[in-house]
Amino acid sequence: MTSQTSSVGAAVPAGGRSAPAGRTRRAFGQTTAGYLFLAPWLIGFFGLTLGPALASLWLSFTNYDLLQSPTFIGTANYVRIATADPKFAAAMKVTFLYVILSVPLKLVFALLVAMAFNRGIRGLPLYRAIFYLPSLLGTSVAIAVLWRQLFAADGLVNAALANFGIIGPSWISNPNYSLYTLVVLSVWQFGSPMIIFLAGLRQIPTDMYEAASLDGASRTRQFFKITLPLLTPVIFFNFVIQTIDAFKAFTPAFIISEGTGGPINSTLFYTLYLYQEAFGFFRMGYASALAWILVIIIAIFTAFSFLSARYWVHYDD
């Protein structure tokens, strides 16, 4: 940093205002400049993330309907959530089912695709980009709308099934299937774990495989004895990130059920329920309490993941 500064300073004509003026002043100037450059992020973090988060913590102990000022009601919101809210229970059930189904399926799928790519296909960068595309689009409104069309009563999926003489239901509006269409949508967005898996696979030294095949280990055996153990740090990373993402999923359920979480609460994701309470029924205090409970759930889940990592994640060193 110092060498850079002096070279810039040297470009200024002698006698200019930025002539050297003592170490402290210069250091002070540098600090100020540093903070100025940080300012966009700092303002964003304090103004748009930390501030609202703390405000929501306070609001979670109040009754607030947007039009009137919040009134403090102690822990009443939390008590109600824990003891007298059937929709909270429904939302928890839907969300946990979604997390438990979508995360492992997505990781397995991503790993399979990554392994196929790792065999050295020609034009790999192109394929990689194409297969990554759904992840870029997946959380967008357009794809959720597309999904609605695909799985509707007269959608593409049923048109395909009709060729085999099967008359399919309206998948997205049937409570027996609607959640699974969302799981499929999530698995389809396997791109980002796939890229990370691919990078992880590349790290595994090829001489290990050579040695193993010389010793007569089959491909399956190589996968379970070499690939999988050496990949565990990457699997762990993907698992944690994807789980957190799945807990926070909102857009697909919001678009596909048009914000209702229906039919019969079958797609009532936790975040969707939170949104309904906040912006549908104007219970901002209650919704804030729900949000903090989600934070705690995710924190507990992540903590358990890290604790369990000691038993199954192998770090090389």
């Binding site: 300073g9 947007l66 039009l67 009563a153 007269d154 509006s173 049937n174 039919p263 019969i264 549908g280």
Partner: protein, 429 residues
């Protein structure tokens, strides 16, 4: 040019200056120009008509700019509440009978009484139509149109199936038989006589009113019993069993918009809506639609009522009240404005406006005006405004109707559940 150099500090200072400038730069350059913000919910059709009316008004008031904003019904209340909470409410607000009490009593709206008779010419609206915009004796909402619930049907489809469509000469029992007859005569696959109205709040309300009951009584409590709701679910259960109404997974696609109603999506020959939406429905449906009253109850009471389809309110914090009232008056009491808006928001409350409008109406709009006049003998009194939490109960009705339709609950359990949930929501609100 060699002595033109930018060092790091100059760069930082000038960027800071630019930043500061831009923060103050967002002000209008010409202070004498007036700016109004106007927010409403509705379809593209409504937006086109409203924007055209605003443009016509600006031709005679060139100093004025109007920023129109529109969203769908379900997002509308979110946006409005957020704007009001942020002290950033638009000057002109399209308001609904369901919410006007809440907003007016919390001081979010401006009383308009002082303008009546001068800037606001609404004396020929009829007392009922004016009173529908009053809260605690003060006027907070200007009637934008009169409507009522209605059944819309595809006449050709009913005829092809050889069955009798709904009308005020048909009882609910006959309607159920007619739907079954439709199912027998109909040749199209995946096509049914009617949408499933068991989860629709206005339909349920109308059915209750015909029995002398109500969704909510005057003190804001649930106005029916579990067995009433159970009978309603059971009635639709019979029609469903006979193949007379759409299957539950098709009905679940209906999110209470014109675009998603089974009538528009081509699964049903009949849909239920508000009469002013007839224009919007006809615009989206290829086949000719007929507007009709709901079925009636033998020896029952009138179920329909005339309702302000929507109201126009001023934000309490508006800085341009006079200009906003003038624009409002243009939309409801000036022939130019009224003729552009037509009857898409409902039939104009003003006698004079309705009379002069008649000649310029197209066939659909005319049928709607006639419908409003025609149902007079099945129209009863305007019910009291729904209590806080009514919107959430309407959601619950839809969900429970689905549980019954998908056979997760019996009609009796559904009726029980609805009253329990409605009561608990009202207690909480």
């Amino acid at each position: 040019m060699s002595d033109f150099r930018i060092d790091r500090r100059t760069l930082i200072k000038s960027s800071a200056a630019a930043l500061a400038l831009s923060a103050f730069g967002a002000r209008p350059l010409f202070a004498q120009d007036q700016r109004l913000r106007f927010i409403w919910w509705g379809s593209q059709e409504r937006a086109d008509r409203t924007n055209k009316a605003i443009a016509a008004y600006r031709e005679i008031n060139p100093g004025l700019t109007v920023d129109g904003e529109f969203v769908g019904w379900s997002d509308y209340w979110t946006r409005l509440a957020t704007q009001v909470a942020g002290r950033n409410a638009p000057d002109l607000i399209q308001m609904d009978y369901r919410y006007i009490f809440e907003y007016a009593r919390r001081g979010a709206l401006m009383p308009l009484d002082e303008y009546v008779g001068n800037a606001l010419q609404i004396s020929d609206f009829g007392q009922n139509n004016i009173d529908a915009g009053k809260v605690d004796g003060k006027l907070y909402g200007i009637n934008l149109g009169v409507n009522s619930s209605a059944a819309l049907y595809d006449a050709a489809a009913w005829e092809a199936a050889g069955a009798t469509p709904p009308s005020k000469a048909v009882t609910w029992d006959q309607f159920a038989e007619n739907c079954a007859a439709f199912a027998k005569g109909n040749k199209k696959s995946n096509f049914y006589a009617t949408a499933d109205a068991s989860g629709l709040e206005p339909s349920f309300e109308l059915w209750l009113r015909q029995q002398g009951k109500a969704l909510y009584n005057a003190d804001g409590k649930v106005g029916y019993e579990p067995k009433d709701a159970a009978a309603w679910f059971a009635y639709w259960g019979e029609i469903r069993k006979a193949g007379g109404c759409v299957t539950p997974d098709i009905q679940a696609l209906d999110t209470l918009t014109i675009e998603t109603n089974p009538l528009t999506t081509g699964y049903a020959a009949t849909g239920f809506a508000h009469s002013n939406q007839y224009v919007g429905y006809q615009a989206l449906n290829k086949s000719k639609l007929v507007i009709s009253s709901y079925p009636v109850r033998e020896g029952g009471q009138p179920g329909h009522y005339y309702k302000p389809s929507m109201l126009l309110s001023l934000s309490a914090g508006t800085q341009a009240a006079d200009a906003a009232v003038k624009l409002a008056n243009f939309l409801v009491a000036d022939a130019t404005g009224v003729n552009i808006l037509g009857v898409e928001r409902g039939v104009p409350a003003s006698d004079a406006m309705r009379a002069q409008l008649a000649s310029s109406l197209d066939e659909t709009s005319k049928a709607m005006v006639d419908y409003i006049a025609d149902i007079e003998d099945v129209v009863g009194a305007l019910p009291p405004p729904p209590p806080k939490g009514a919107g959430e109960i309407a959601f619950a009705l839809t969900r429970i109707s689905q549980e019954v339709a998908f056979e997760a609950k019996t009609a009796e359990e559904g009726g029980e559940q609805l009253v329990v949930e409605a009561t608990s929501i009202l207690e909480r609100a």
